[in-house]
């Protein structure tokens, strides 16, 4: 703060404050629009996303088919729209559930230590010894295909990230002076954990969570490709990208558009995570 800066302190603060807030609200609106679209997608599709047409296969983008048609003659644009629901809601749900479970386990382990800590951290170690996708394939293989089972398979390791980060943050934070002071103020363990420690570590966890949305989308897509996730006629971005692989040379739009939309979605969620982190940090954004 004391380096060479042309702007005076107050003005600089005001500007960065506005920027942080503005960026956050903007990205929040975009994210909400995205989620809204994914919810109302079935009522917005221009063509039936499941109607096949042998003569209209691999058509390039046109007025009628904005993103062209796929190898079964289905409208790619309609399928991307309807697939948004599966991809976004499945990934979001998975992330929210693993976030809550993982964070709770992590802060309890970090705060209380002892056998609880040992138990969960050893389980996490075992789960992390396998590559994510291999474990997912194994689990989905055992309990069968389907979107729900794919989510279960991915969630099995998903919580460990939050648990580890939350735990290590709690471990360092619980020695902080303000935690000791809060204890002397008569706070209970529960309040200490959720009112004092959690708000101070949630920023990191939220950033992990938003990055996980992308990872989970791809995880679901990967399992779908192997026939262990979303089952065939149902539209889903990842499986659509994969279904277009054999036609990349003659009909690149089949893979290109779902891939592009997925990429943009992941980027938006990542940016939103960044903005949220800055917004939550009173050292960057002080709203007094």
């Amino acid at each position: 703060m004391d380096e060479v800066k042309i702007l005076p302190m107050e003005e600089k603060k005001k500007r960065s404050l506005n920027f942080v807030k503005l960026r956050f609200y903007l990205l929040m609106v975009i994210t909400i629009i995205l989620i809204f679209i994914s919810i109302v997608a079935p009522y917005m599709v221009p063509n039936d996303p499941y109607a096949t047409d042998i003569r209209g296969r691999n058509l390039p983008p046109s007025q009628e088919f904005l993103f062209g048609t796929d190898s079964h003659g289905r409208c790619v644009f309609s399928r991307v729209l309807i697939g948004a629901r599966t991809s976004i809601s499945a990934a979001l749900m998975l992330v929210i559930i693993t976030f809550v479970i993982g964070t709770t386990i992590g802060i309890v382990c970090g705060y209380y230590g002892g056998w609880i800590d040992n138990l969960f951290m050893r389980i996490a170690d075992i789960l992390l010894a396998f590559p994510d996708i291999i474990l997912g394939i194994a689990v989905a293989g055992i309990i069968g295909g389907g979107l729900f089972n794919a989510m279960l398979a991915l969630g099995l390791t998903g919580w460990t990230q939050y648990a580890r980060v939350a735990r290590s943050n709690v471990l360092t934070m619980k020695e902080d002076t303000f935690i000791q002071a809060a204890r002397l103020s008569g706070n209970s363990d529960l309040r200490l954990l959720f009112r004092h420690i959690l708000p101070n570590i949630i920023g990191v966890l939220v950033v992990i969570a938003t990055l996980q949305i992308g990872t989970m989308m791809m995880g679901i897509a990967g399992l779908s490709f192997l026939g262990l996730g979303v089952q065939v006629p149902q539209a889903e971005w990842g499986s659509m990208v994969n279904s277009g692989r054999s036609y990349l040379q003659i009909a690149p739009w089949i893979s290109l558009f779902p891939g592009l939309v997925m990429m943009v979605t992941i980027i938006i969620f990542n940016l939103f995570g960044d903005a949220l982190r800055d917004f939550l940090d009173p050292r960057i954004n002080n709203s007094s």
């Binding site: 002071a181 002397l184 008569g186 004092h196 101070n200 009173p282 050292r283 002080n286």
Partner: protein, 263 residues
């Protein structure tokens, strides 16, 4: 004479195991009378903060007993701690760090008030606000500081706020662990002055922990000198300053003199 407010009997605390075992506090005993200011002096690492944490139950004693207001508090748990915190509070070395960075000063003080002083349900919002403002006033801070975050305050202001939070309960004993060490000289003097003022007006005892013998000898009735976790000398301030018995105290004193001459 009346009963001591705090009595520490042969407390001991070790950290680590085997080769890495450190005896941070080794068989220390002292007592504080109501309204008295006791200085606890020693170099860095001599176990001063550990003693403060043992008394406030932030850490558990290995051996020995601590009596507060006649009751043995060495092994209390849960609710019983709250009862102790209603009469014993602490001010820490790091002023800004002793507040949750995401909580406004007012909220932090309100926590103490809600948990230890009043029944929050029986108290109106306006009344609570009034109580917070009057506490801030007592330590020389304006009411608008209630709506600031700790990082928006200077070290001295933050330490005032920490004192406001501590005296919210009207403690019988206030522990100040290096409460002025992180501050610049003028802020240090102001905080000391404030503490001495409050000590009289609230009639509380103070355990003043510091590495600075000169400072401690200015404000304390009695002094206890700590060296490597052991109590090497204790007694009336005057006696210790004029006729130190232990070589370590002499060393501390001579370093004070050297600094004085150097200035």
């Amino acid at each position: 004479m009346s009963q001591p407010i705090l009595e520490v009997h042969n407390i001991k605390k070790t950290f680590g195991k085997g080769k890495y075992k450190i005896t941070a506090v080794d068989d220390v005993s002292f007592q504080i009378m109501p309204g008295e200011v006791l200085g606890l002096v020693g170099e860095s690492g001599s176990g001063k903060s550990t003693i403060a944490k043992l008394i406030t139950h932030l850490q558990k004693v290995d051996e020995g007993n601590i009596f507060f207001d006649g009751k043995d508090i060495s092994n209390i748990k849960g609710k019983a701690c709250l009862e102790v915190y209603k009469e014993m509070q602490m001010v820490f070395q790091d002023p800004v760090g002793s507040f949750n960075p995401r909580m406004k000063i007012g909220e932090a003080i309100k926590e103490t008030l809600c948990h230890l002083c009043y029944n929050p349900k029986a108290m109106s919002k306006a009344h609570m606000k009034e109580a917070i403002v009057s506490l801030l006033k007592q330590v020389g801070l304006k009411s608008e500081y209630a709506n600031k975050y700790p990082h928006q305050l200077s070290g001295g202001e933050c330490q005032r706020a920490a004192i406001a939070r501590a005296i919210a309960v009207h403690p019988k004993l206030l522990i100040c662990d290096e409460a002025t060490s992180a501050l610049d000289v003028s802020a240090q003097a102001q905080i000391i002055e404030l503490l001495m003022e409050l000590e009289k007006s609230l009639d509380m005892a103070i355990l003043f922990i510091s590495h600075d013998l000169a400072l401690v000898s200015c404000i304390c009735d009695r002094i206890c000198v700590l060296y490597k976790g052991q109590e090497v000398e204790s007694g009336e301030t005057k006696g210790i300053i004029e006729a130190p018995k232990h070589p370590y105290t002499k060393k501390l004193l001579s370093s004070v003199l050297q600094v004085d001459i150097g200035e």
